[in-house]
Amino acid sequence: MAIFSVYVVNKAGGLIYQFDNYVPRAEAEKTFSYPLDLVLKIHDEKVVVSFGQRDGIRVGHALLSINGVDVNGKFTADGKEIIEYLKDSTNYPVSIRFGRARLSSNEKLMLASMFHSLFAIGSQLSPEVGSSGIEMLETDMFKLHCFQTLTGIKFIVLADPRQSGIDALLRKIYEIYSDFALKNPFYSLEMPIRCELFDQNLKGALEIAEKAGNFGPGS
């Protein structure tokens, strides 16, 4: 059981805080000889597998590193185009690591504001009167829990579907936000949260929630 990540979205849909607590590894490294028996293409400035699923390498996985050196978007560490590099038979044998691409901060911003609108549409399409937006979204790999405060700030936690006590955790995060972001004289409302105490306390709360899933009364 695990808590994957925490997002805080302001009332306008802007991402003001994001923290990745635990990122499970789904990566595969393999040594290839020339010619490469996978079809790669460039998608969103990344090199992804478009055909040739095998040995834990799946279609949609991004190329993460070549010979143990992390790549930089569609370029190798020393600035060459990856696609061109892999066409050159003199570079083989080559060891390539594939895996799910990490979200860039731009993508995180985009996903946060996307959720903001989905939240609103969810309440508009309600068949019952007076429904809130999406509070919990379930997939087979994770559950997304969302808590919207009266002032419109959304706290979003991504966790394992079996993890319990997320509702208490969301309220605890709100408490930490009130205590360590809002009461910080250098913090301006609606802006990204850069407060050391907020970070520390959030990490502590996540640890407690993962172990016990319970904060006790009045904590």
Binding site: F4, S5, V23, P24, A26, R58, G60, R100, L103, E107, L111, M114, F115, S117, L118, I121, G122, S123, Q124, L125, S126, P127, E128, V129, G130, S131, S132, G133, I134, E135, M136, L137, E138, T139, D140, M141, F142, L144, L158
Partner: protein, 145 residues
């Protein structure tokens, strides 16, 4: 516990069937607009989930809930999407939606030579059977029907 409504969409986003049972609030837009909004929301949720997921997903998006209702989602490999809105007390309804697909949609629509796939379903037999099936569900209470 109750069932509010049910949508069936094809892979292109047109609504093949819509049925409602205990719906208490309309979305405030025409049905056509509502279908588009619903399909658009699910389309975005699907891409949202696949991007957010820390690992590769198998079934993908299953359901979401708000303070008042729960939306259950089921998609076949051919892209037929079945959406059922119920109240919060209903547990995982994936099997029920799969049953609707395999015992009602396949039997009365796919095997019916008069039904053109990809067009709004006009089969009365399908509608009545679906209505009976939903009304017979253990969590369908007749209190407002």
């Amino acid at each position: 516990m109750t069932v509010h409504n049910l949508y069936i969409f094809d892979r292109n986003g047109s609504c093949l069937h819509y049925g409602e049972w205990n719906r208490k609030k309309e979305a405030g837009i025409s049905k056509d607009e509502e279908f588009k909004l619903m399909y658009g929301m699910l389309f975005s949720i699907r891409s949202f989930c696949s991007k957010m997921s820390p690992l590769d997903m198998k079934d993908g998006f299953l359901s979401f809930q708000t303070s008042k209702y729960k939306l259950h989602y089921y998609e076949t490999p051919t892209g037929i999407k079945i959406i059922m809105n119920t109240d919060l007390g209903v547990p995982n309804a994936r099997d029920i939606l799969h049953q609707i697909y395999s015992t009602l949609y396949v039997e009365y629509i796919v095997k019916n030579p008069l039904c053109v796939l990809g067009e709004q379903l006009s089969s009365d037999l399908f509608s009545t059977r679906l209505d009976l099936y939903i009304r017979a569900l253990p969590f369908f209470s007749p209190r407002a029907a």
